[in-house]
């Protein structure tokens, strides 16, 4: 028999049953082929060692949620193209899917969490001039809750009482505000809030008359770090938000189900005493338990003194838009059945328009206000 080819010698190590017996017989009596086989096996082991780095097990559930969200988004884009209303490629971010209701709840929760986190990262004055999205998944929220030691604290679900305090892992949060009050007209709401409020002249199909006006007085929340917060102990950050006016519209058919809400508020500000911005930010973002991707997103936001992060719940799609020339963030649920847009108009007023409408209709309303 002729000498055995290199390829067969190589396969002999991996799949010996695929090699004819006569090859083994030849090897037993051929020193030259045996020596070649040893060299080939050496190179093979070397390659295996180099290419078998430790493998971490991927989280298939999370990956599937992420992919499903992306599939939904791409089919949505195709549907939009079919309707002939496709615009330039959307700069949509990608998130796992959740239901509309969960999305809205998450959004509300996320705003409180991020507001507190943002407040805590500021040192001097927080006076945002533009809004940017920050993705917030359910696991991020769980991680933040665990990290801050908040448990089921009402702080994460919003301030349940007009004033109070709550402890968290590194200190305390105290808040106070007036009770939200209904107003009988736009004029009354405007007078109560102390700033003008614009409403849309033309409403999308399906949206009925104004159902109610509500005025939320100013809310003040103070975060104080205790001595366990290394490097920032004793520092405090005070976040001031509001007042705000909420205008709620009913459905066109006369049902009580709200279809559109317009919120107008003074931009939030924060004042810090104690540690510097970089100290507090470094402390918070490097704590074990803070999701690395979230920390990275916060770092990428840039100057937090002028940037208002808009937490985007898992399952939502988000894109940057211009409302009356000002940068805004448009968030829609996975099926584009509900959407909201947030922007600051450059005059110190923050606007939020949202409802059970598609993103097109929501943007139409928003553009009428600027």
């Amino acid at each position: 028999m002729r000498h055995v080819a290199d390829g067969i010698l190589r396969r002999l190590d991996d799949e010996p049953l695929a090699i004819p017996d006569r090859v083994a017989d030849h090897l037993a009596g051929c020193g030259r082929c045996s020596a070649r086989r040893a060299r080939i096996a050496h190179d093979s082991e070397h390659a295996a060692r180099l290419l078998s780095a430790p493998q971490l097990v991927p989280d298939t559930d999370v990956a599937w949620a992420r992919l499903r969200r992306e599939l939904h988004r791409s089919s949505e884009e195709r549907a939009e193209r079919r309707r002939g209303t496709a615009r330039a490629a959307r700069r949509a971010h990608r998130f796992p899917s959740v239901s509309l209701r969960a999305g809205l709840i998450m959004g509300a929760v996320g705003i409180v969490v991020a507001g507190t986190a943002v407040a805590a990262t500021l040192t001097t004055i927080f006076a945002p001039t533009h809004v940017v999205p920050v993705s917030l998944s359910q696991s991020d929220l769980r991680a933040i809750t665990a990290f801050a030691g908040l448990g089921d604290s009402p702080v994460l679900g919003g301030f349940a009482t007009p004033s109070g305090s709550s402890t968290f892992r590194f200190g305390t949060i105290k808040w106070s505000s007036g009770v939200p009050t209904p107003a009988s007209s736009l004029a009354e709401a405007t007078a109560e809030a102390g700033f003008p409020v614009s409403l849309p002249a033309h409403l999308p199909a399906g949206v009925g008359a104004v159902q109610r006006f509500m005025v939320q007085p100013r809310v003040t929340a103070t975060v104080t770090f205790d001595s366990t917060a290394r490097g920032v102990g004793g520092s405090s950050v005070t976040l001031v938000a509001g007042p705000a006016v909420l205008t709620r519209y009913a459905g066109a058919s006369g049902t009580d189900v709200p279809t559109l809400e317009v919120v107008t508020m003074r931009r939030p500000t924060a004042v810090s005493a104690g540690a510097t911005l970089s100290q507090i930010e470094a402390f918070l973002l490097t704590q074990p338990g803070v999701p690395p991707q979230l920390a990275e997103e916060v770092r990428l936001l840039g100057d937090l003194r002028t940037t208002l992060p808009v937490p985007v719940p898992a399952g939502a799609s988000v894109r940057s838009v211009r409302v009356g020339g000002w940068p805004g963030v448009l968030v829609a649920d996975g099926a584009n059945a509900a959407a909201g847009v947030v922007w600051e108009d450059g005059r110190g007023t923050l606007h939020l328009v949202g409802g059970i409408l598609d993103s097109h209709d929501v943007l139409d309303v928003a553009n009428q206000l600027s």
């Binding site: 390829g7 396969r11 799949e15 295996a48 991927p58 298939t60 990956a63 599937w64 992919l67 949505e76």
Partner: protein
Amino acid sequence: MGLRARHQELSECLDGTSDLADFETFFRDNHRVVVRLAQSVVGDVQGAQDVAQEVFLAAYHRFPGAYEQAAGWVRVAAVHTALNVLRGERRRDKRQRLVPDAGSLPSIEDTVIDREARAEVRRVLARLPRRSAAVLVMRHGGMSYAEIAQALGVKVGNVGTLLRRSESELRKEIDRETRS
């Protein structure tokens, strides 16, 4: 958007439910191995997951309703997509090689050795001919000779030859890298 249009869109979503369930089964059966293949090339889990996402998304559109036929394809696509990522990194790396990355400084000696070795392998993989790099990653990622043959469009009997040649090239390149 009118109610009729919205209803039509929702109906389309519902019609795709069973197809999505099939795809989910396919995804769950193959995700781990695809990530593993990609990770052996790009080196990190996050990068590998991004590669996997891209590959499965493409498979969904490429094999509508026939995902069982896509098992081999996603493996091959993962390797090639990951190699593309690696070659992109290599181009960036050439520009940035002299800039130290303070954020990635290792803390213990083992980590240093491990990380350097893996970085070295990635550099070499990026330099090897694409087919050689692909066959190495496929075989050491757990693919059989038959699967590799199908993926590369060669006879099963030739896979051993390709693999032997690739492993020899890998050793020579590593030796060259070490000497330099």
